[in-house]
Amino acid sequence: MTDFVLLVVTGVGLGALYFLAASGLSLIYGLMGVLNFAHGAFMVAGAYAGWVVVSHLTGLAGGLALAVGVVAALAVGALIGLVVELVLIRPLYERHIQQVLVTVGLSLAAVAAVQGIWGPDARQLPKGEWLSSTTSVAGAHVPNDRFLFIAAALLLFVGLKALLQFTRLGLVIRAGVENRRMVAALGIDVQRTFTVVFVLGSAAAGLAGILGGVYASSVTPGQGGSMLIYAFIVVVIGGMGSLNGTAVAALAVGLVQQLTNFYAASGVGDLSVVLLLALVLLLRPRSMEGAR
């Protein structure tokens, strides 16, 4: 029973991390039709921005330094997203192959740039005493960082839901996900909405990057690539553009991965996630189209 509780809580924590990585990707595709392969690069940027800040704040308590690092990761993710949207994505709307080429190229270039500056090796991310210890839940010793991931994902989910449901920007986003041509035909500045959504999604990627670093206790140039794979699996299972679907799919992927890794064999978790994806695509082949 203790094992099961531990697996479920850590599985939910892992799912929360996947949600952080996937929510921006899903929104960006849902509204803009941009399949952003550079999303992983934004995670790496956020991770390294956070790591640089935390490394320089040695005088602060670990938790506080990490909090500042998270703010830096959000800011850097948002800033890079803004520049990329304005310079690279905006001229390529509706040109999907070029978008894929540009965003794949950007992700490769970003990894190379990070390797060039900080080297290919993992850099340890100090995360403070509390995040390095555990809390007992029904007898299971759950790593505290999982609670951080769950809290961050909940905050992001509730914040995005509130944005979508209660603000004019959210109304335009929901309409745009459904029919962006008609939104423009109503005289609404869809372009500005695209930019805001891209920046929001990129900031979420930055957050996922630094928290991915917390999960692994280190940051690496390749961490964005592996997180991006799971993020894509989550958005395809959840339905591109659907925030609720992304949340449910992220939880399902985290739990399936964690439970099968333990009850089947180590490594089976990744395989089971791919099988889950295949199953969803077989039963719901239009999942790739999502809300659009």
Partner: protein, 243 residues
């Protein structure tokens, strides 16, 4: 009747639209008077809906589009709409996941189902304000699509087959609304329903194979069975009931 001395609200000159190798509009030119309803007629697939989209900028166009004397050919869709061109697309294109009120509030933060124009022309929508648009009937969706554009100040309305697929009673309701709107705002109307055209349109422009083949008064065209058969392939007897 149209005052011929008033400059047209819309002037289209040598308008071309190409989709790849398909040359849909081939030098279309016509004026829309500053008052009343101008019906854009023609057989299926001759380019009527494409003409409306090209005027708005939703279709890739070359040629000149002048709105109230200003060349707007290079304007974005958003700028054209904000300058007072309202567009009601074929098949309504309401946002099905949004409520009726949300569909209307998209147009502006201070408008919605409580707006006077909605209360006056589309009172039924008040009771359906929280209903998702996809659950509305075709007629109700058409009311939302019309209300949505009437919430703005328009200098011209582009309305694409507003009675398509509607029951006769709803056709009459839509015709009534368009007739009332046309007393203050000129309308360029794509419509297949000849009785409705006869009832509310003042002038007609007939397209065939991407070109204008006839311009004139609606009464003359609809009153001439030989002409309607030759230009449109239908006669009044074959047209759907609209009045």
């Amino acid at each position: 009747m149209t005052d011929v001395r008033t400059p047209p609200v819309l002037r289209v000159q040598d308008l071309h639209v190409r989709y790849g190798r398909l040359h849909v509009l081939q030098g279309v030119s016509f004026d829309v008077p500053a008052t009343g309803v101008t019906a854009l007629l023609g057989r299926n697939g001759v380019g009527k809906s494409t003409t409306l989209k090209a005027v708005l900028g939703l279709a890739p166009r070359t040629g000149t589009v002048e709105l109230a004397g200003r060349d707007v050919s290079s304007w974005s869709v958003m700028r054209t709409v904000r300058d007072g061109v309202g567009y009601v697309p074929e098949d309504r294109e309401v946002f099905g996941d949004l409520t009726v009120d949300e569909n209307l509030r998209l147009v502006g933060k201070d408008v919605g189902v409580e707006a006077p124009v909605v209360r006056e022309l589309f009172g039924d929508l008040l009771a359906r304000r929280t209903q998702r648009a996809r659950t509305l009937s075709g007629g109700q969706q058409q009311m939302v699509a019309l209300a949505r554009v009437l919430l703005r100040e328009n200098r011209l309305l582009l309305v694409d087959e507003p009675t398509k697929g509607l029951a006769p009673r709803l056709v009459t309701e839509v015709a009534d609304v368009l007739a009332r709107v046309a007393t203050t705002t000129p309308i360029l109307l794509v419509e297949q329903n000849l009785p409705l055209v006869r009832r509310i349109a003042d002038t007609v422009v007939v397209l065939d194979a991407g070109q204008v083949v006839h311009r004139g008064s609606a009464a003359e065209l609809v009153g001439d069975p030989e002409l309607t058969t030759r230009l449109l392939g239908v006669s009044m007897k074959q047209g759907a009931a609209g009045d």
